[in-house]
Amino acid sequence: MSDTHAQTVPFVRDTMLPAAPPPAQQAGAVRWMRENLFSGPVNTVLTLMGLAIIWFLYVAFGDWFAHSVWNADSLPECREIIAATWGEGARGACFAVIRERWNQYVFGFYPSELYWRPVMTFGLLMVALMPVLFAASLPVRRVVLSATVALTLLAMVALGSPIMWLVFAIAIMAFAFHASETQIARLLPFSVLFPLLGVWLLWGGSLWGPIFVLVGPMLGWITWRVLVSRSAMLATILSVLVTIVFWLFVAGDAAGDAQNLLPMGIEPVDSSSFGGFLLSITIGVAGIALSLPLGIVLALARRSDMFLITTLAVVFIEFIRGVPLITLLFVASLLLNYFLPPGTSFDIILRVIIMVTVFAAAYMAEVIRGGLAALPKGQYEAADALGLDYWKAQRLIILPQALKISIPGIVSTFIGMFKDTTLVTFVGLYDPLKSMSDAVRASTSWKGIYWEPYIFVGFIFFLICFGMSRYSMYLERRLQRDHR
């Protein structure tokens, strides 16, 4: 056979050619550019437009950023430095304002000798969030926890924190490290207690307040344990009732009496001293933490079989979603005093937090309702078939899946809410964006500075919001159970 073959084919190459490099136009950067930037006339025009935009931005802002001044005490001084370095008529950014007013932007008018308290609160917040946000990954936890601990302790030392509190923070963080390495769920009790601790650290005052707030649920829990063998429902209702009654009628007086008997506490700080990012983050974190559970309850209520519950939920959600947040903030600042018993007045930050929470919860409810509706009907039927009652079915089967589906929507609601915290400026609170920048401009040394504060505040907001959206993508990937 091979003979005939050899005769019919005049020439057969019997050696392998060495691999040659691809032609220059089909390799490397040239090929990439041909494919991605200049593949056709339209594409070429778009590329040129893109380059024109970049060039325009560079011409408009390039030298302004390049001539930034970071070290000056006032705008005139800044301009002198720019003129001296880059010549007369040169433009330049004066980011020195951020350096000089850093504390004001971060802490508002919080007493400067107590700056360590918000810092510690924020550090402990990150610790408390560890078992919630990074429960799955030990390496991520190690990095975040180490960074948090190092930054918090450094800042606390630099801000002159008392030794006692430093020791307290170190103890909690050491425990967090231990829990993180062994079993992160052991940190959960701290996460549950953190809101009380955080509020107490930020606003200060008597230690008896948070203690008696804590006593309420404990009494409720005792009630529940005593009665649960008789009737679970009765036990639940009564324990909630006991807690609320204790908070409303006993806790306040008891805390006052205890404070008189045995004064224990830290220096109180008034709400009017809050400002800057401290205020934004306080409102944002509180709103996030409160609006998610409220949103879940509202979503379940809207999908309930009970006519009255559904109606109430629909009316509430649609009303809140139908009005701008500003009007709700005005209700908080102007009208809430009308609705409460004569003589009561409570903290403006708390009122704003309530309104922001209610606003975000209505949007959250719609997002979660979407998740609930997207869940295949078979899941509900399977839960029924297993004989689970309503709450067990929701807790074990429906909500874990529905919440997972709605993660992107939930996080974008969080982001929207965090951005909306800047609106508190219109009810007289010192948000970092408008009020604080106006306050900075009101001083003679920084009169007429517009862009730098806005860029700085915008940049911080961008970091936080962009970080949140990236985290939601990470969470989605982590919770993905199907194989696509």
Partner: protein
């Protein structure tokens, strides 16, 4: 085989109200009803007592008293001698103006950016991604303040346009002048004015507007007729007659004729003395608010459009091509209907958001509903309760109307499931 005895229907006992699932929900609803009623009564009672303590009453009579303040931008005639009610109406119209302009511009920009993000051009797609991420992740208030600061701090006073060698020159073929107080744009004028229709309450509509609107609606109607006819011909003969020039003619010719008949033309603003006259001087508050709302909302709409287009699977367009459909008809008949189904519902909520966000006009002093009814009127009359309640209800009604209208549209494009 013995028949099982039918389960006995136990007689009703009061304890079943708690333990029997059939009655438990009833009990629960009654309890909730009582609690809600009690809470409502508590709130109303508190309000009445508080109002009494302050010596105030709850009535809306203040709406008919003299307002006494001026509004810079008045879509309907208004003076300081008019009532608070009319001031509120002016504010509502101003809210509507900025919302509608914002919705239109944000939709156009959003679609352009969303499509550009999907472009195969690496550079352009990246640039659009940067645009979207920057605008989505910073507060709207920041954009409003920045745009407003650009207008008030960087743009020149009108007299910079003066002289033979002016420091600034008008843009868009000498039609628009940007100054630090207002943006002067051309205005429409008629050389053959047909007069106006008086609607009462000093509100008038030009007959020309009515005539052109009627002509446009008639054009749309005729276009539908032409299409129906083309469809009929196609169904019976298999050939679709060419209709685009007929449609174009019925849509544009009557309007063009009316424009010629009324002598409608643009009058460009010109600098006279210290200010621009002849054109329309739009306050920078409106322009800045509109621009910021547009840019911010466009970033969200771009994401919605992008998600909508990505949601149509590639197999759909491939199947259409395999059936021999042309790219344009594939787009119109296969891709767009499916993409719109995904796009419309979130787009509606973006329009609602834009309308509600227009209340941030407070940051630039634009007199919208919040600026009039919830601002000056509230401060002058001291009627917080009534003014804020009325303002919230108006916004609520606005939202409900928008979402109802858009839901009708949505139900027309959405998947008809059988």
């Amino acid at each position: 085989m013995t028949d099982l005895p039918a389960p006995a229907n136990p007689p009703f006992r009061p304890s079943m109200l708690i333990h029997d699932r059939r009655y438990r929900s009833l009990t629960f609803q009654v309890v909730v009803f009582i609690l809600v009623m009690a809470a409502g009564w508590w709130l109303v009672d508190n309000t009445i007592r508080n109002l009494a303590a302050l010596g105030k009453t709850f009535n809306f009579g203040f709406l008919w008293s003299r307002a006494g303040y001026d509004i810079p931008q008045t879509p309907i005639p208004y003076t300081a001698d008019d009532t608070h009610l009319r001031a509120a109406a002016v504010g509502l119209l101003n809210t509507l103006i900025v919302s509608i302009l914002g919705c239109i511009a944000a939709t156009i920009l959003g679609i352009a950016v969303g499509v550009a993000r999907l472009s195969r051009n690496w550079l352009f797609a990246r640039l659009m991604t940067v645009f979207v991420e920057i605008f989505r992740n910073m507060p709207l208030l920041l954009w409003i303040l920045i745009v407003y600061a650009v207008f008030t701090e960087i743009l020149p006073a009108p007299n910079a346009y003066r002289g033979d060698e002016p420091a600034w020159s008008m843009i868009l073929w000498d039609n628009v002048a940007l100054t630090n107080r207002y943006t002067a744009i051309p205005t429409l004028a008629m050389s053959n004015d047909p007069g106006s229709l008086d609607l009462g309450a000093r509100i008038t509509i030009s007959w020309a507007t009515i005539a052109i609107t009627v002509a446009l609606i008639a054009g749309l109607f005729l276009r539908g007729k032409i299409r129906d006819h083309a469809q009929k011909v196609q169904d019976s003969t298999g050939q679709r007659p060419t209709t685009w020039w007929k449609s174009l003619a019925v849509m544009t010719l009557p309007t063009l004729f009316l424009i010629w008949f009324f002598g409608l033309h643009l009058v460009a603003p010109a600098l006279k003395g210290f200010n621009f006259t002849g054109g329309l001087n739009v306050s920078n508050a409106l322009v800045a608010l509109w621009l910021a709302l547009t840019l911010y909302t466009a970033a969200f709409i771009a994401e919605i459009v992008r998600a909508g287009i990505l949601a149509v699977s590639k197999g759909q367009s491939e199947a259409a091509f395999a059936l021999g459909m042309r790219p344009k008809r594939t787009m119109n008949l296969v891709i767009l209907p499916q993409a719109l189904r995904v796009i419309i519902p979130p787009l509606i909520s973006q329009y609602l958001n834009l309308t509600k966000n227009s209340s941030l006009a407070i940051a630039v002093g634009y007199m919208d509903l919040r600026g009039t009814l919830g601002g000056t009127t509230l401060n002058q009359t001291g009627r917080e309760l009534e003014a804020i309640l009325l303002m919230m209800l108006t916004y609520l009604a606005l939202s409900l109307i928008i979402s109802a209208g858009m839901n009708v549209f949505n139900s027309r494009v959405k998947l008809k499931e059988r």
